[in-house]
Amino acid sequence: MKILVAISQTPETTARIAFKNEGTIFDTNGVNFIMNPYDEWYALVRALELKEQKGGSVTVIHCGPPANEVIIRKALAIGADDAVRINMEPLSAHAIATQIAAYAKDQSFDVIFTGKETIDYNESLVGGMVAELLDLPFISHVSKLVYNDAVASVTRDIEGGEEEIEVTGPYVVSAAKGLAEQRIPNMRGIMSAKTKPLQVITPVPEESTADYIHFQVPAAKSSVKMIDPNDMDELVRLLHEEAKVI
């Protein structure tokens, strides 16, 4: 199987979120960056497991500047065979999807993985966009993916349950929790990652369809109203009369 995994770089989950230049730019000062957890823990690892079962190769693709190669090397250390970096500032899902589709178009990948969303912009857009650009099936929020011969059985999360879908031929999936278990790169992986192929590609032209023009941090809640633990009638009264939620 020939597998492509799109990986993205995000601030770590505990990062302080602040903006600069009058709320137009994310302030990266003091922020540590990681591989997007959905890409690393679930998409990449399930791709590697499929390769281990069925043979083939796993390529990771990332749209970003040279500094982001840290996460690419990590993906290679975890077990990807080779990597592609599109040399660009990734400004929108459309920009990223355009590059991934342009790269994948003539490569006949059997499966293209993305994470279900990045933990920064939470858009959930790239997978569907790539699938549409390549005219492939797309199954989102996938928590299980197994093969019965040539047929992939894919389980996706839906509201209050799950749906099992069969698909043959190439397709795109976005990975959700449960698809795989996180792998920690070992020393051998880290060493071999240094010499695995990393191809750098110039982006194809793209026209932005939507832009982020402003960010703000929501106003902090006014201070909490503490209720006497022996007076739950008071809590009920407040929820009814003041908060009006019951």
């Binding site: 459309h94 569907g128 797309f138 349950g161 503490m226």
Partner: protein, 321 residues
């Protein structure tokens, strides 16, 4: 015009679609145009969407659309959006909506906004939508640069008003391409409102000490008609199923009322729940960070407080009905 894709469940309009359509009608008002609702697959009560602001309700009745396939649904919606000259296409921010949003944006060459949470502003002829980013830690303004916008509407963004009369559903025929996927099984828990759609959520964490103690959480949820949820450590240790995990790497929710029991409030948990309208925190540790994000706090032994809270609610419910 504004085209809203309404969702159905078991041949009936989903409650969440009344909000999507109502939002569509308000947006249409703003743009000086009208709102058309689109139903894909069999549905017996589509006319109700008229009461929530749809001037017209279109339906493609074909059984083939009953099974969801993002590729097929995108082609059908795209075809209709083009025929109708839609300037805004709205889907729910649901599993299906999110599966077609990116696709539609490519097919219609339309700027996408995932999870808009209020009506946009019109500035210099362009629509500016607000949406939560960084798992709710910030709000972004997203400007759509294209002639057409496709957006998914975050649930619980505005309260749908039943304002008008039902309209007649107009059946339309479109070419439905063959699906390359096959839905073989659909499983849904019956009788429970799914977390993303729940108005009230009762959530518990490690403070519960043992999965066998969950009875008091379920009792509280039952009296409130709430859906139960849990923190990540609870899901990871197998105390509760993963689909109950709310937080940054679980489900992000925004109910009217979120009750957190025995959850300290780590930043990753807060990220997934802090868009809730009202937060109640019950914790024995007065220093628990969650109290800072709460509207109402109760500090003490949850094993005493939760049953008392349930009793007080029962008393309230019986005197108010």
């Amino acid at each position: 015009m504004v085209l809203v894709v309404a969702e159905t469940l078991d041949g009936k309009i989903k409650n969440s679609s009344f909000e999507t359509v109502y939002y569509g009608s308000k947006l249409a008002e703003m743009l000086g145009s009208s709102c058309t609702a689109l139903i894909l697959g069999p549905c017996s009560d589509g006319g109700r969407l008229g009461s929530f602001g749809a001037k017209e309700v279109l339906q493609v009745e074909d059984q083939a659309l009953n099974s969801f396939d993002s590729q097929v649904h995108t082609k059908v919606v795209t075809q209709i959006a083009k025929e109708q000259g839609a300037k805004v296409v709205i889907v729910a921010d649901s599993s299906n909506g999110k599966s077609i949003l990116g696709r539609l944006s490519i097919a219609l060459k339309a700027g996408p906004v995932r999870g808009a949470n209020k009506l946009p502003e019109l500035k210099d002829g362009k629509l500016n939508f607000q949406r939560p980013v960084f798992s709710g830690k910030a709000i972004a303004t997203c400007r759509v640069n294209t002639e057409i916008a496709v957006i998914s509407l975050m649930g619980n963004s505005l309260k749908p008003q039943n304002t008008g009369a039902e309209v007649a559903v107009k059946a339309i025929n479109v070419e439905i391409p063959a699906s390359k996927t096959k839905v073989v099984k659909v499983e849904r828990s019956v009788g429970i409102v799914p977390l993303p759609e729940a108005q009230i959520v009762v959530s518990a964490g490690r403070g519960m000490k043992d999965p066998s103690n969950w009875g008091i959480v379920e009792d509280l949820a039952a009296v409130l008609g709430a859906t139960t949820a849990c923190s990540r450590p609870v899901a990871d240790s197998g105390w509760r199923p993963h689909h109950e995990h709310v937080g940054q790497t679980g489900i992000a929710i925004r109910p009217n009322l979120y009750i957190a029991i025995g959850i300290s409030g780590a930043i990753q948990h807060l990220a997934g729940v802090n868009s809730s309208k009202v937060i109640v925190v019950i914790n024995k540790d007065p220093e628990a960070p969650f109290f800072k994000a709460a509207d109402y706090g109760v500090c003490g032994d949850l094993f005493e407080i939760v049953p008392k809270f349930t009793e007080a609610l029962k008393k309230f419910k019986s005197s108010h009905h």
